[in-house]
Amino acid sequence: MFNDVRSLYLHIPFCERKCEYCDFTSVAGATGSEAYMGALNAEVRRIGERLGPLALDTVFIGGGTPSLVEPALLAGLIATVRSTFSVTADAEVTMEANPSSITAGRARVWREAGVNRISIGVQSLETDALRFLGRVHDADRALAAVAEVREAGFTSINCDLIYAVPGLGDTRWRRTLERVVDAGPTHISCYELTVEAGTPLHARVRRGLVTPVDGVRSIRQHGIAVDLLERAGYAHYEVSNFALPGEECRHNLVYWRNGYYAAAGVGAHGHLPAAAAAAVGLDVAAGAVSVRYWHGRGIAAYGRAVRGGELAIAGSEPVGPGMREQERVMLGLRLREGVRIGASNLSEAHALAGLGLIAVDGDRVRATARGEAVLNQVTLRLVGDQAA
């Protein structure tokens, strides 16, 4: 049994339409979702055959837009997870949903299927920003969606928001934050709009049609979010994440604490200890502590591979002790709780503390607000030269 694998990520790649900025694995429309969900169930069972009945503390159904597929299909998927693995009594089961495919009725089905945390892609409450981002809902729909899931019995609700949107000034960003806080979610994520290669937004920037927001304004809007949300009682527990007490996303904390997670579905990434990786059938290089692996992005190819008895894994990377340490520090620095660092990096840590970028407490460090703004640089200085 692999006791240290207690999380599972499931990817559902369907969306009403592809957003301008999105580089996740997704396709427009729900055509073929039935066949896909069949393959996904099959892969979950196959993982179960190879890893045994893992005790799962967290399950995260992400996308794409999981709320878009038929609620019955989702219920079926969760049932498969429950019958394949041992989902613990207090497990966190999150599902991502978009306002346009949320109704109180659908939410009740998800709730009954065992989803107990819902993450809503609100993004903005400003009409022009929503249009810029290519979102299909408006502010009223977004706020109604929050009410609907609450009405369906959800008590853990996250709202995703995006700042640094061209044309969205500080005042209107603050207004979005205030209105979302008023809607009363238990968790809020605030992401900077980033221009990823291969997205329509990237093409518009390249053609000179869009000028990305400069770093100074972006950092300022981040600061606005931190101030406003902390005052509203949301703890800033990760670079982009805020939660009421006890409402932190446990699944995501597994990522940031460099934990393990199995994964199923197109484009899904997993991280398994070496023995589990070997059991799954991944190549495990000598000396590897763990293996990170990922699925291919093609839906048709995924279906074929799973039907052929495979896991549709497209690539993997063995993680040696040095690399594991680098990743641990890199990820842990994102958390307000901070991260323990090795003795060899302590003098560097004190130098950074002297610059006001981190706080050092014994062998633990955490980024200050200033350090968080340049976290990549801070990380570079603290991961030292550990051999990968």
């Binding site: 100074v216 670079v239 995501n252 997993g270 990170r292 990922w294 890199m330 950074l352 976290l375 990380t379």
Partner: protein, 600 residues
Amino acid sequence: MRLDRIRNFSIIAHIDHGKSTLADRLLEATGTVALRDMQDQVLDQLDLERERGITIKAQAVRLAYTASDGITYELNLIDTPGHVDFAYEVSRSLAACEGALLVVDATQGVEAQTLANVYQAIENHLEVIPVINKIDLANADAELVRREIEEVIGIPADDAILTSARQGIGIDLVLEAIVKRVPPPQGERDGSLRALIFDAKYDAYRGVVVYVRIVDGRIAAGMRIRMMNNKSEFVVDEVGVFAPAMTRVDELLCGEVGYFIASIKNVRDSKVGDTVTDAAHPTTHPLPGYRAVTPMVYAGIFPVDSDDVTDLKEALQRLNLNDASLIFEPESSAALGFGFRCGFLGLLHMEIVQERLEREFDLSLITTAPTVEYRVRLRSGEVIAIDNPEMLPDASNIEAIEEPRTKATIIVPSAYVGAIMELCQERRGEFQQMDYQPGDRVALTYDLPLGEIIHDFYDQLKSRSRGYASLDYEITGFRAESLVKLDILVGGQRVDALSMIVHRDRANAHGRKLAERLRKLIPRQLFEVPIQAAIGGKIVARETVSAMRKDVLAKCYGGDITRKRKLLEKQREGKRRMKRVGNVEIPQEAFMAVLKMDEE
């Protein structure tokens, strides 16, 4: 071979005037290199030589040519470096010959460097045969170039040979002229051995291969020989000729050119210009003209990664085996750690050494701005030589600082004379002479500080004359000037490796420019970095690199981790090419910033 059937000759040409191509054609025409083995620049064996289209090391090759008189002659071609940095090597190569082909580009005319080398040939009593090359080009003007050779150089050019090395035109005429016009060598076949060393190279398997011209006597395997300069003695293992590959022969006789190998471990024992003699029957008269080569330009070379200092030392030693003119000694810098203070013949030599170290030995290096050697007269009466600004004594102890001066000759089309004179003025040059030459060109003579020439002067000369100006210079002596040390402070900390010696009148302007340039070269750090220029503790310029405001990834979830880590690794690779001084990361280029101050 009878003396009267030997011809030793060299080729003098400006860069790009076609020397290597002509040499290639001569090798082909005499069947020395089979056509199928032919590649461009056969004689330039270093990769760098081929890439840059220049000759760095001298080469020698023996050609067998059956002339129109039916007799087969032994022609020895000694190919010489063409750059001002290697002027002494050129002079020794010329001293090994009786004749020289003067190759002039029919579209370009005589250049300053050519002029200097041709005068050396004339001083060595060489028969100079003018060859006007590239006559196939549309803008060739052979008549004008012929007139220029006569008026500027002062040698008859009626019978200049017109060639196109690229097209193979006139090659036979060149070979005939070598036989007919270059005098055969003279010398005493039965006298005691006197051989002139004109180059040496280190071969990993055989030790040092010494390139010699036998002036008197003979040399053969088994002989015990003596280097007259340092009296070291060796037993000859092998003698041979270049055909063009090294080919063993029984002996090399008076008048001939070839090589010998004698278990010599270090090229320092076979210095260019030295005389080799028979240890059993030594001559009392060494050949004239030997001088120890002294560096003109000094710079510090440091490994970016301090752990590589041992590797750097080994690499320098290895290069040194082949290049006795490179000198180095350990240096330690507060900013850069341990490295080596190196002396070079000139800037090109410095660039070549740096490039070879990085390329052939896979080292990542920081080279500090080059400097010349100053003479410092102390109040105590003592005179010291300073090749590193850092070593300059406290100003209160200094009576005077003297800088090396040169006589610089610049040949330039008259349209650019104004621009070039302006450049010379900016560089504290003192005008001496201006001569008009055929083809609407002007020869300018200036007294210029060597320290100014090594700072980007050549590039400026080229850019302000659209590439038409050519330069030659020779050291004339030292002169006291009002010189001061300019210090640079980065993040409040003095960076010794950025200090330089400058003229007081221009020190402020220099400091401002340098600080400004450094501001552009030093990337934003996690905090604000002031860059200051100071003279004797007084700040004369200040610039600020503002702090980095933002560098953070908004999202980092399960699928982002591998990509994110790779991104960090890439960033770290970039940092490896920087040197951390105090808390500030300074890129390699910054240390050379002072070289490029006239840009932009």
